[in-house]
């Protein structure tokens, strides 16, 4: 327990101490990371813990954002509501809409459940632009953060600490929930809904409550985003927002409480750092998702968890070499993939088509990574191929020793003793 708390305490200390020393871009990135983490954890209560995969969680995130903006507008008009408590509006709206939507969606499980949630989010997405009074039409709603009790909320750092406080409180509540009878019931529901019924539980009511709580915390996340951006429009209800949270959760690991946070941090950072560098960043994000699902189905959080759990039995003197080999191999494969994708992005771009026309249909040289390449020479194609082959060879070499070492660890370990 104490060991588990140490990394949390370090992360917490960093989040409290560091931001004033960071520039605005990073402060904003941290706000987005916190919001994405909360959204992913709220989503995972439903998807990972109760086994109900929703494809429409944008609806509750968006509802929370619009509710907060409406309240912000009232405060602007003179309502005496404390600005720091704005996320309560998001929570209330998320809970309410979650109860109604959840009542219908949870009548079914599995694919049908997923499709109903998707349809509900699409409903919001298509209605919002027309309901100008509620969602502000296509332009959306905007409002200003009003000062309250000495807090101006004019600077980003104040918004950051407000976000941090709400996210920390919400995560604490979500974690506490997993320790309650209801939290355990959610896990049971995921394993065997039928048996839950035959133990005397009303499975439908159970699912509605889980859905509503998940929607409530998604609403808090949405409200925090509205407070940070001071604006929101119907794009918040887009299926891309729903897909994003699925991505966070499953890349991070749905079976571990903090797994979705790992995914949210990685992808939010990725978007912040990589989206400026290349237009193909969504493609890279998709590739990461596919690779994680194929080779680490329990997510990156699952990988970390597995290593922490067996840290006593891991023989690093023997694991280090194959791990280093595999890492180097992965880097080479990644370099090959990036080079190829960037090359294709240039060669198939409009600019290059124009350049070709100017060159009279030939294949003029182009620039990738600050160097000039000619498409008809074998170099730009053989280079990634060679990198890929070398990387793959290294990975395949490392695979066997890693497999055997882990097999030994698993065979030698006692059954997982994990009282709760």
């Amino acid at each position: 327990m104490a060991r588990a708390l140490l990394p949390l305490a370090l992360v917490g200390a960093f989040l409290i101490v560091a931001p004033p020393f960071l520039d605005l871009g990073w402060q904003n990135a941290l706000i987005n990371i916190l919001i994405a983490s909360l959204f992913a954890l709220a989503f995972n209560l439903l998807a990972g813990q109760a086994g109900l995969l929703s494809f429409g969680h944008a609806a509750y995130f968006g509802v929370g954002a619009f509710a907060a903006l409406h309240l912000m507008a009232r405060i602007e008009d003179g309502l005496g509501f404390p600005t720091p408590l704005l996320p309560l509006a998001g929570a209330a709206a998320g809970l309410l809409i979650g109860l109604v939507a959840g009542f219908f969606a949870t009548m079914r499980s599995g694919v049908y459940f997923a499709l109903v949630t998707l349809a509900i989010a699409e409903l919001f997405h298509s209605l919002a632009p027309h309901w100008q009074g509620v969602f502000g039409g296509e332009a959306g709603l905007s409002s200003m953060r009003m000062p309250w009790g000495g807090l101006i909320f004019g600077s980003l750092i104040e918004v950051y600490y407000l976000t941090l406080a709400w996210v920390a409180l919400s995560i604490l509540l979500l974690w506490g929930l997993t320790r309650t009878p209801f939290g355990r019931l959610a896990l049971a529901l995921r394993d065997n809904e039928q048996r839950v019924r035959f133990l005397g539980y009303n499975a439908h009511i159970t699912k509605v409550i889980i859905f509503a709580i998940s929607a409530m915390f998604s609403g808090v996340a949405g409200a925090l985003q509205a407070i940070s951006n001071e604006t929101a429009n119907y794009v918040l209800f887009a299926s891309g927002v729903s897909a994003q949270v699925v991505l966070y959760t499953f890349v991070g690991g749905a079976t571990i409480f903090f797994g979705p946070v790992v995914g949210a941090v990685i992808f939010t950072l990725f978007a912040y750092l990589v989206s400026d560098l290349t237009r193909s960043w969504l493609l890279y994000q998709g590739l990461i998702f596919v690779l994680v699902m194929l080779y680490a189905p329990n997510g990156l959080g699952g990988l970390i968890h597995q290593h922490l759990r067996h840290r006593g039995q891991l023989d690093w003197s023997r694991l280090a070499r194959p791990y280093a080999q595999a890492t180097l191999g992965s880097l080479l494969v990644a370099a090959a993939a990036i080079f190829l994708i960037e090359t294709l992005a240039v060669v198939f771009s409009r600019d290059y088509a124009v350049a070709r026309r100017d060159a009279g249909g030939g294949f003029p040289a182009y620039e990738v990574f600050g160097l000039n390449w000619t498409p008809l020479s074998p170099v730009p194609w053989l280079l990634p191929l060679a990198l890929f082959a070398a990387g793959l060879w290294l990975i395949l070499q490392a695979r066997h020793p890693i497999g055997t070492l882990w097999q030994r660890v698993r065979a030698g370990s006692e059954p997982d003793v994990n009282p709760s």
Partner: protein, 251 residues
Amino acid sequence: MTEALLELNGIAKSFGSISVLQEVNLDVRSRERHAVIGPNGAGKSTLFNLISGMFAPTSGTIRLQERPIGGLPPHVINRAGLARSFQITSNFRRLSVFENLRLGVLARHGIRYGLFRPVSRMRAVNEETAELLSIVGLERRAHDMAGDLTYSEQRALEIGMTLTTRASVILLDEPTAGMSRDETDQTVELIRKVTTDKTLLMIEHDMSVVFSLCDRVSVLVYGSILATDTPPAISANAEVQKAYLGEETAT
């Protein structure tokens, strides 16, 4: 005591045009151990599914302590005092053995949607769970995942889970299926122990289990009850022999 605790009258069930049960009449008396036997496809599991609320009967009435329960949802029937096990092991495989049992105990204590207190601090619930754990002999496995248990341990857990809600009527669906002789004997003793003061209705193929455990037997053949009597009388019943036991006793 001859009054019926569980009473089925004219129960019929069809799925579309396929009729599985026709006119089933069955009385299970208070505190008796009652077996349902019959060839494969006779409708035994369907009968259990009707009694426990998985399906509603097409026609007929089911009464539990004189209260009609036919067509009620499973959780309502469970709360009325009837618990069942499943033929195919049906536990929460990614939860610990302890937690599997505790979920039932929580339901019995009415803590169904407890949101505000950690379950680890609910002493009465945890003590009762520990007690059940020792009754079914799984103390050593308390903190292992239910999915990691051996087959016979899973069957013991399955029986344990039907006890968690302290139902007065227990339905066991082939509790000894697939077990070795030794395991079967142990399971019979376990069932005997845990159904003292309770009413048991079980589906069973193994005639030696039926003989050693049950007070009465009903024979279900082609969707209706052929006869209900004590085990010796049933094995002497010519009609039953012809319809069902005949194939086995002839060898």
